[in-house]
């Protein structure tokens, strides 16, 4: 008849099973997929994330160098993180804070110049354009070695990376 009594007494003597949430927050687990973010300075705008995303919440503009994500459409599956060839996408283990406004993620990076045509065009007037070009090749040089180990280390994104610039020309 009183089978629940033992449990009731135990619960009276032990501490509460719940927390006073906004004041007492549990530490998030290490691998928790809380928030999607992009280290935009490393991004090569290859659009792999945009293509692979199941909820199609990511929009990449390679020409303008922008990376947009609608966090309300995102399903936090981290498929884009798995496929990113330069590993600039990552999941943070804290979830987004409540907000009264509908905030989208808009990141502005430096658009990467196309290697072959850029070199050919700047080859002749290289001498005059030296001061401006000095900054650009540095930016170019950074992603090239990054992109190179990508295809070796991870077979999947290899075909996607070169596709993006060609789609951009059209």
């Amino acid at each position: 008849m009183f089978t629940m009594t033992k449990n009731v007494v135990r619960n009276l003597l032990t501490k509460s099973a719940t927390r006073l949430y906004p004041f007492d927050v549990r530490e998030p687990f290490e691998g928790y997929r809380g928030r999607l973010d992009n280290r935009i300075e490393d991004c090569i705008f290859c659009k792999t994330c945009q293509v692979k995303c199941p909820s199609q919440c990511i929009t990449v503009d390679a020409k303008a160098g922008t990376w947009d994500c609608d966090p309300f459409a995102c399903v936090y599956c981290a498929i884009c993180v798995d496929h990113c060839p330069v590993h600039c996408l990552f999941m943070d283990n804290t979830h987004r804070k409540p907000s009264a406004e509908r905030e989208a993620i808009h990141l502005q990076g430096t658009p990467k110049k196309k290697k072959a045509p850029a070199r050919a065009a700047t080859a002749a007037p290289a001498a005059e354009a030296a001061p401006e070009a000095a900054a650009a090749p540095e930016a170019d040089a950074a992603p090239t070695p990054d992109a190179a180990p990508g295809p070796e280390g991870d077979a999947a994104p290899a075909p996607d990376a070169p596709e993006a610039p060609s789609g951009d020309e059209k």
């Binding site: 089978t3 629940m4 099973a17 687990f29 928790y32 997929r33 199941p54 981290a78 999947a156």
Partner: protein, 358 residues
């Protein structure tokens, strides 16, 4: 009182999801029940025409909020069968571990809801308190509480380290103790038995003929479980379907209670026997042909039909969820019972309506 038709649902305190039953009653005795479905149809099967084969994993995970992992397992196994793709043994064991954790949390959720259906709210809280530990295991090992997103075609995306395995074993040992503490209340308490014993009886013949699935079928004494097909790593684990002979609401809750303990045992076995090695066998091939795949969900047998034509999109995807199979048996259970027992009997099949309507 003369015959009256009473609506039960779509909004009803015991129903987490909208199921509408038109109950034909006479003097508070149900004579007939007529179901009406379609309140939460989302057209997820049709999405296979827009989303590609890999993206569909995330779509099928959202067919059911509670057994997302098993939907993805069933879908991935179907595509792997079409591609004749060998899944690494470690991935198969990991699928079993996460699948069984899903079964545990689903059954604990249901046991709580069932207690709530007959008005035992403190028992409801106790069940959900135990469940929270399982949810934490899921969050720490998969990255999310409910929609775990760990399955991909050819294997799984996350691995378990030896420390994580040890931590899981530690946590499920505490959960087991907590579950066993609820046993006397759930299965022997006078008020619980009064509300569940002899309510909504489904005989073994009826269950078999009406195509009942899962605990609804096993609660009527039919030892049938899709895990006996030895999909994933179940071939390497010791396991026997849990059955109860009576076929009433009590028997169905007892089956689920015992299955919760069985899942704890299966997780232990799987962790002990898990081999090392790769966790995924990646592929870029496009599936072609048609296949049917069955897995055991917490609510019963889940059935997938996949037709692919060698393009990146599937031709047709058909999902039959266990609740869909359990609605005809439910209609056979209702006639003859009192109106006050309808919520308990309806809940005893563990209805998952958004699963059913996809």
């Amino acid at each position: 009182m003369a015959r009256t038709i009473l609506p039960f649902g779509p909004q009803h305190p015991v129903l987490p999801e909208p199921l509408h039953l038109k109950l034909v009653v006479e003097d508070e005795i149900v004579l007939e029940a007529v179901p009406a479905l379609g309140y939460v149809h989302r057209g997820l099967e049709k999405l296979c025409e827009i989303r590609d084969v890999n993206q569909m994993i995330q779509v099928v995970e959202r067919v059911c909020g509670i057994c997302s992992c098993l939907h993805a397992v069933c879908y991935c196994q179907g595509i792997e069968a079409l591609l004749s793709l060998e899944v690494p043994p470690r991935a198969k064991y990991l699928r079993v571990i996460w699948g069984e954790l899903h079964r545990m949390h689903s059954h604990l959720l249901w046991l709580g809801l069932f207690a709530d259906a007959f008005g035992f709210e403190s028992l409801f809280m106790q069940c959900w308190k135990v469940r929270e530990r399982i949810m934490d295991i899921m969050e720490a090992t998969c990255g999310n509480r409910v929609v775990v997103s760990v399955n991909v075609i050819g294997g799984v995306r996350r691995d378990l380290s030896p420390e994580q395995c040890a931590w899981i074993l530690e946590q499920i040992a505490i959960a087991e103790k907590d579950v066993k503490r609820l046993q006397s209340t759930l299965l022997t308490d006078y008020t619980v038995c009064k509300r569940t014993k002899g309510k909504g009886v489904l005989t073994a013949e009826q269950a078999y003929q009406l195509g009942a699935a899962g605990p609804t079928l096993r609660g009527s004494g039919v030892a049938q479980d899709a895990r006996q097909e030895n999909y994933a790593a179940y071939g390497g684990l010791e396991f026997a379907p849990v059955t109860e002979p009576d076929g009433d609401s009590y028997a169905r809750s007892a089956v689920r209670f015992r299955e919760t303990l069985q899942s704890i045992d299966l997780v232990r076995q799987a962790i002990a026997r898990m081999p090392g090695g790769e966790i995924v066998n990646p592929t870029k091939a496009k599936p072609q042909g048609e296949v049917t795949m069955r897995v055991e969900q917490p609510r019963g047998e889940l059935f997938y039909y996949i037709k692919a034509d060698g393009t990146k999109n599937l031709d047709r995807l058909r999902i039959r969820t266990p609740t869909f199979a359990n609605i005809p048996p439910l209609l056979a259970m209702l006639p003859g019972i009192e109106l006050a027992d309808v919520p308990v009997v309806v809940l005893s099949i563990d209805p998952c309506i958004s699963c059913t309507e996809r």
